[in-house]
């Protein structure tokens, strides 16, 4: 082949590749839509296979069928980015276990589930990271787990600095001098009756509200089979539990 033609071909190919690279770079630079202010998933669509949930199964499966998310086996973690409400953020779900062992949901910092509830073989617990490690308070314990019964779980985290100006006025102070979040956990039975509510303070949670950026569900250890009917995270005003729960006064 004529050398000149080959040279033109080579430079054309290089130019094409550079063009593709440039176009891809421009596309990558277009800002992301960002985290949503609230999420609600009733599992009527394939939210575990399309990237809506980040799913990390280890000897476990996550399946959506008939409007239910079923988590079976060993460990599986589902995470979802979330923009917290300036004042208060709620994480709530309708959950049941066909085989109890260990299930949790909550809100946290990337890769750190710092505040959450556990729905386990020995009861319902409210957990949070503290200066003395991860601590749990029981909302309800049981010797024979209520297999197959639906429950509503709700975790609330309250921002101690809802007014950003207050935070700005504090200036560049050490993070350990800032007030930490208030945590409230509540569990309701299938009729929406409040089973228990706790706001653990001994020891208090050590999470900073501004750091929260994800919500999660997870199972761990073996023989789990949990089903989730819906999952909500966002401001209290959008919490589906409002319509269901017979709330006792806070």
């Amino acid at each position: 082949m004529n050398r000149r033609v080959l040279q033109i071909g080579v430079f054309s190919l290089i130019a094409l590749c550079i063009g593709i690279a440039g176009t891809a770079a421009v596309f990558a630079f277009i800002p992301d839509s960002g985290s949503p202010p609230a999420i609600f998933d009733d599992f009527n669509w394939s939210s575990i296979s399309n990237g809506y949930w980040h799913v990390n199964p280890i000897g476990a499966t996550a399946v959506i069928k008939s409007g239910l998310l079923t988590l079976s086996g060993h460990s599986v973690e589902l995470d979802r980015r979330l923009q917290t409400d300036p004042k208060e953020t709620v994480v709530a779900a309708r959950v049941r276990a066909l085989s109890f062992n260990k299930f949790g949901l909550g809100i946290g910092v990337y890769h750190s589930g710092t505040v959450g509830m556990e729905f386990d073989a020995d009861g319902i617990k409210c957990g949070r990271g503290t200066d003395h490690g991860y601590q749990v308070d029981f909302l309800k314990g049981w010797k024979t787990p209520p297999v197959g019964q639906w429950f509503y779980l709700e975790v609330t985290v309250v921002n101690p600095y809802p007014n950003p100006k207050v935070l700005q006025q504090l200036g560049d102070i050490s993070s350990d001098k800032l007030k930490k979040v208030k945590v409230i956990c509540a569990a309701y039975d299938s009729q929406g009756h409040l089973i228990s509510r706790v706001s653990p303070t001994d020891p208090p949670a050590n999470s900073h509200y501004v750091a929260f950026d994800e919500v999660f569900m997870r199972t761990w250890d073996s023989n789990n089979r949990y089903q989730v009917d819906w999952f909500y995270a966002g401001p209290p005003s959008g919490d589906p539990l409002i319509a269901v729960a017979r709330r006792a006064p806070k």
């Binding site: 690279a21 990237g51 280890i58 460990s75 973690e77 890769h111 950026d213 994800e214």
Partner: protein, 561 residues
């Protein structure tokens, strides 16, 4: 195309990269772009790995954000009963009772531009700040890997291997040696390798090619860069360079000539040493204080040296089998560059002996004998000889053997970068637990180094097979699932994506915060850059871009015996 000389008198002719300066620059730019893009493309999905890098990122952020050398907000407190071996050698209490890293400024300073860029990018793209910074800061690994490839290529061309063979040799270094997993790990050894190559290149250009005094200063800058990154490696490199400049040969003969050589090398090093001393003073109150409190030396040297070279769990020969080719290439290289061979050999031996004497010679938890990676490119340089093998000496057999060894070595590196090394650690720990041993993350107590049944190499290659099997058959047959209530294995399986491919675009970790569309855009961009630069490299080195000439075609001239 230039005449490719590999003659017996290398000082006489300085091999060139291309027929013009512009094309030489384009060639080097293409080479750098190719490796930088390829290394980013194969970057690890695991940006939590190596707390060492996380500490260096903290250093960079403290310098960038508040001009502070201490780790703001870190409180270092050890219970009184804690044994010395439990102390973390990476951080130490310094002036004002503050916590400082014992690490030097080398890598943190290079991280700063990445940190600034990613902090702006996270806001612009509305990505979560933490993972964005963790990932983009770690691109300092690919950057340094590409820089190593670049200076290595320049060195190889100047050694007279020819542009085409130098490119091939650089590809072998880049993808069939431990440089690949090393740059992926984002530890500081890639930076050490880069500066060490710069130092030797400067000394070589001065000595063998009479490049002038500025190359001695360059050699000093290289050693200074190493002193800015790892003291001990700068010391070892200094021994090698010192010997190289002492041996007979090169300009400026005699005692005074030698003194002048060392003065110029020292001049190159001086700024780095001054900053090192100042940084020590700022952190720990004395120019020579390092902040280290652990026992560094005391291991049986012979045991450590054998562990670093031939042990089934840590031996460099198994992690980087292309080094076996030195048996073929070494003597030929030594005939051409005897002083350089002596200097490289001396550096390598000193390196192995010194680290063999170090109590934590293995550098665990880490992939392979990481402390040796800094001098690895120097050992690979002579392999250009096997690519230049003369026809009359069974060339086809040598090339076939080389191809087989390179393929094996590539497979090992490929497994190392595509499968999470934590998957292998999981299996090492599971093996130990199956033997009734209670695992503790105390490197001095690891037992796997001399047991082939728990060699990370075996586990890693097997892991590649397992991941490929599960990927192709869409099964989870080889998912690693920890036993109930086994905290160590459970934390490994939940903290690291050990059941997923280790490439960032293949792991679902990035879906979470970067989004699939951005991942696809990033991959497309990187592949296109690799293609553009790769096509240019092939076209340039094959002579396609040369204008046809009348008359006799220039051929490669094999070196004299």
């Amino acid at each position: 195309m230039q005449v490719q000389t590999a003659s017996a008198a290398p000082a006489a002719i300085v091999p060139r990269f291309a027929s013009s300066c512009a094309r030489a620059i384009a060639l080097l730019l293409a080479l750098f772009s190719f490796f930088f893009a390829a290394y980013i493309f194969t970057a690890s999905a695991d940006y939590f790995s190596t707390g060492d890098t996380t500490i260096r990122i903290e250093q960079a952020e403290n310098i960038l954000g508040r001009w502070g050398p201490d780790l703001n907000g870190w409180k270092l407190q050890y219970p009184n009963h804690l044994k010395k071996e439990y102390f973390d050698p990476r951080i130490s209490l310094g002036r004002g009772g503050k916590t400082y890293s014992t690490y030097l400024l080398g890598q943190p300073l290079l991280i700063i531009p990445f940190d600034y860029f990613s902090s702006q990018l996270a806001i612009h793209e509305r990505w979560p700040y933490g993972p964005t910074l963790l990932f983009f800061d770690r691109l300092v690994g690919p950057l340094l890997g590409a820089l190593v490839a670049l200076i290595f290529f320049v060195f190889a061309v100047r050694l007279g291997f020819g542009v085409r063979r130098s490119l091939l040799l650089t590809l072998i270094l880049g993808f069939a040696s431990s440089l690949w997993p090393d740059e992926q790990s984002v530890l500081e050894h890639t930076e050490v390798a880069f500066f060490l190559l710069v130092a030797f290149y400067g000394a070589y250009r001065f000595r063998e090619q009479e490049g002038g005094w500025q190359y001695l200063v360059l050699a000093g800058v290289g050693l200074g860069g190493d002193a800015f990154t790892r003291y001990q490696d700068a010391f070892l490199g200094g021994l090698g360079i010192g010997l190289y400049l002492l041996l007979p040969g090169g300009p400026w003969p005699g005692l005074m000539g030698r003194v002048r050589r060392f003065i110029l090398v020292g001049a190159g090093m001086l700024p780095f040493l001054v900053v090192d001393a100042w940084y020590n003073w700022v952190r720990f109150g004395k120019p020579l204080a390092s902040g280290h409190h652990e026992t560094v030396f005391g291991y049986a040297i012979w045991k450590g040296a054998l562990g670093l070279t031939v042990s089934p769990g840590k031996g460099i020969l198994w992690y980087c089998p292309i080094l076996f080719l030195l048996a073929l290439a070494g003597p030929r290289f030594a005939r051409r560059y005897s002083a350089l061979t002596v200097a490289i050999g001396f550096t390598a031996v000193a390196w192995i002996l010194l680290y063999g004497y170090v109590t934590y010679w293995h550098g665990d938890p880490a992939w392979g004998p990481r402390y040796l990676y800094g001098m690895l490119p120097l050992l690979i340089l002579p392999l250009g000889e096997v690519l230049n093998w003369p026809k009359q000496h069974a060339r086809s057999m040598v090339w076939s053997l080389t191809a087989v060894v390179v393929a094996i070595s590539f497979a090992i590196q490929f497994a190392a970068v595509t499968v999470s090394p934590w998957r292998t650690w999981y299996r090492v720990i599971a093996y130990e637990e199956s033997q009734g041993y209670k695992w503790q993350w105390i490197a001095a107590r690891y037992r796997y180094h001399w047991n082939i049944h728990e060699s990370p190499l075996v586990f890693q290659l097997h892991g590649l097979y397992q991941m490929a099997y599960d990927g192709i058959t869409h099964s989870s047959k080889y998912d690693l699932v920890p036993p109930d209530e086994d905290g160590i294995l459970d934390s490994l399986s939940t903290n690291y994506a050990i059941n997923q491919w280790n490439l960032w675009w293949k792991s679902d970790e990035f879906d979470w915060w970067m989004g699939r569309q951005k991942i696809v855009a990033g991959m497309t961009m990187l592949i296109a850059i690799m293609l553009a630069s790769g096509v240019y490299l092939v076209a340039e080195t094959s002579g396609l871009l040369e204008e046809p000439r009348a008359g006799k075609r220039l051929e490669l001239v094999p070196e004299a015996a």
